[in-house]
């Protein structure tokens, strides 16, 4: 009998704890949930966010390209006082949308390509109308080993042969050495892979995946290590990873254009692409902490983006993202 009493006591105490948790969550709908908005804003469009007042957990997942930028913004968000829990997973754009649109598990989807039509449909099926936030521009870097002295520039056509049917370097250009090409490319789940296939192979995955001596990895460090260790290696990944490892690797010019902020801004570098964050109005309204994080992100992204290795988006694009935010939160602020 005594045991049963103890058990009953435990059960009731546990249930009160959980009930307490429920009460806390329901607070989010009250005006107090927006106490993080500062009276004065130093942004022309968005309200300013006080991270100290932001409560609640945030989950984001997606592109490994966006990952370092989001990681930096989260660090800054936390340094300025956010004490909640943000999880950020680097799983590739496709998997990010899978988690956000299909499984409806994450709050934010990071992507290095625009959302696809069928992903939009899946998101709507879960009551999520995707809103796009442009964060900046990433350039792909095609990299080689520093000991490689026969190649400094490639055309897109040559790239298609190098990452496609060529077995040896001499198959691409007879003046290049008679050595096997060792290829290091991002995994098929990454936006980087999709983008490269789209630009270089006209969306046909067959040649690049049929090529011999090809290592695929979602982990860009695996690729860096591979190219670093082999004189006849070639690989590609986001420019940020090249920037981080520029002393170990050499970057190739594409069609005679060197990757850099000038050539990305004036759109002459052929392998540059936008990077995004996706959320929906209902998530931002149900979880004000997500809205706060996105507003904070958009307000300060340009102060960090160059340091991370990407290029800022054009002002009009960033303003559009900020206006998207305002529209999503209309009537709630």
């Amino acid at each position: 009998m005594k045991k049963i009493l103890v058990l009953l006591f435990l059960l009731t105490s546990v249930s009160t704890v959980f009930a307490g948790g429920d009460k806390e969550n329901s607070c989010a709908d009250k005006p107090g949930a927006y106490s993080w908005i500062l009276a004065e804003s130093d942004d022309s469009i968005l309200p300013s966010v006080n991270p100290l007042e932001v409560k609640g957990a945030i989950t984001a997942a997606g592109s490994s390209t966006v990952y370092p930028l989001s990681e930096r913004m989260i660090e800054r968000f936390k340094n300025e006082g956010y004490s909640g829990n943000i999880t950020l997973d680097s799983i590739g754009s496709g998997a990010g949308f899978e988690r956000w649109a299909v499984q409806a598990e994450s709050d934010i989807s990071n992507a290095s390509r625009p959302i696809k039509e069928k992903e939009v449909k899946a998101a709507r099926g879960n009551g999520r109308e995707p809103i796009e936030f442009r964060l900046g521009t990433d350039a792909l870097a095609v990299v080689i080993n520093p000991k490689n002295n026969f190649i400094t520039n490639v055309t897109l056509q040559e790239l298609a042969i190098i990452f496609g049917k060529a077995e040896k370097w001499s198959d691409v250009n007879s003046s290049w050495p008679n050595e096997s090409i060792k290829r290091y490319i991002p995994g098929t789940d990454s936006g980087t892979f999709d983008y490269f296939v789209e630009e270089v192979f006209d969306k046909d995955k067959k040649p690049i995946l049929s090529a011999s001596n090809t290592q695929l990895s979602e982990d860009d460090n695996v690729l860096v290590r591979g190219v670093e260790g082999d004189k006849y290696a070639i690989g590609f990944f986001g420019f940020a990873y090249y920037a981080e490892n520029s002393e170990k690797l050499n970057v190739l010019n594409i069609e005679g254009v060197e990757p850099g902020s000038a050539t990305v801004d004036n759109a002459t570098y052929p392998l540059a692409r936008p990077i995004f964050m996706y959320c929906s109005a209902n998530i931002m309204q149900e979880k004000p902490q997500v809205a706060a994080f996105i507003a904070y992100y958009l307000s300060y992204v340009n102060e960090e983006i160059g340091d991370v290795g990407y290029f800022p988006a054009a002002k009009a694009e960033l303003n559009k993202a900020k206006k998207n935010w305002m529209k999503a939160m209309e009537g709630k602020l």
């Binding site: 799983i91 590739g92 496709g94 998997a95 899978e98 988690r99 299909v102 050595e179 060792k182 995994g187 098929t188 789940d189 990454s190 995955k205 067959k206 995946l209 049929s210 011999s212 001596n213 090809t214 290592q215 695929l216 990895s217 979602e218 695996v222 290590r225 591979g226 670093e228 260790g229 082999d230 004189k231 006849y232 290696a233």
Partner: protein, 310 residues
């Protein structure tokens, strides 16, 4: 009179209480034993179900699965041979490294080493066995591979290669083989050894000619369990063996193994019910069957060749 009845009642009460308690304890122990069986059955069921989806999807035939030399599910190439080949290659290299080393260490420990030395070296072996496999993976990548490059040539050895992964797996399974073989060798009764000494045999002759053959079933079992561990090892090959399927017998080339593929593909968390997703279960059940067969063989060997003493 009254007290006698009380005692009687008390004893009766005690015995039913005892029975109840015994029954309860038996029930609890039984349920734990059943959990292990239930988990195994659950794993087999899930593996089987998902693998069935893979083959019944209409895109893959079992014949193609076992005969085609190319594996690239994204572009509909489903031949398991390159993955199987590199799994066997890394396991073979691991066994070449760990087999003789483990056996010789075991012979030394059971026949030659003093008790004092043995009591020091055995915990060392256990430490080696307790190192997380990811550490071995980076050891292969940052130590063994550069080492191989220095010996065989910078251009000959790829950054990711099956040789360095195989050697690291060898180091991983070495303590297991050594300690299991040592148990088998120590199990040989000293009477047999004494008889051989009595006939004038030297220590080496006794060790190699008497003790090892007498313990062969235990040693074989140790080797096969080591082999099945090598086949199933994941973290080392995922880090060091390469990340693209490649049908090659050259140990200095990068070639992804079955477990490495599963780790890489599931790490990217792909969509459910896609061919990619189901393919990892097909590989998983195949791996499961391989290790199951190896374990059955090792049991049969132990039963068949066991020398029964006393």
């Amino acid at each position: 009179m009254k007290t006698a009845i009380d005692i009687d009642l008390f004893q009766k009460d005690l015995s039913t209480n005892l029975q109840k308690r015994e029954f309860l304890i038996k029930g609890i122990l039984y349920s734990f034993a059943v959990i292990s069986i239930a988990v195994t059955l659950g794993i087999v069921y899930i593996l089987g179900k998902e693998a069935f989806l893979f083959f019944s999807g209409g895109e893959v035939s079992i014949i193609e699965f076992f005969t085609s030399g190319e594996w690239q599910p994204v572009i509909k190439k489903f031949g398991i041979l390159p993955l199987l080949n590199s799994t066997l290659l890394t396991s073979f290299i691991a066994m070449v490294a760990a087999g003789p080393m483990g056996l010789f260490a075991a012979i030394y420990l059971s026949e030659y080493a003093s008790d004092k030395f043995k009591s020091k070296i055995k915990p060392m072996l256990e430490i080696l066995a307790g190192i997380p496999t990811i550490v071995y993976g980076y050891f292969a990548l940052t130590f063994i591979t550069p080492f191989l490059k220095n010996i065989f040539g910078y251009e000959v050895v790829d950054v990711y290669n099956t040789a360095s992964a195989g050697i690291a797996i060898g180091i991983l399974i070495f303590p297991m083989i050594a300690s299991m073989s040592e148990d088998a060798l120590s199990g040989v009764p000293s009477g047999i050894k004494q008889a051989a000494y009595g006939l004038g045999a030297t220590k080496l002759e006794v060790s190699i000619g008497i003790v090892v053959p007498s313990a062969v079933s235990g040693i074989m079992a140790a080797f096969i369990i080591g082999l099945s561990r090598a086949v199933g090892e994941t973290m080392i090959v995922a880090l060091a063996a390469g990340a693209g399927s490649n049908f090659t017998f050259n140990p200095f080339r990068a070639a992804e193994t079955m477990t490495g593929y599963i780790a890489r593909i599931s790490g990217g968390d792909i969509g459910y019910d896609t061919v990619d997703y189901n393919s990892i279960f097909a590989i998983g059940i195949f791996l499961f069957i391989i290790t199951l067969i190896l374990n059955i063989i090792s049991q049969k060997i132990v039963q068949r060749y066991r020398e029964i003493y006393d």
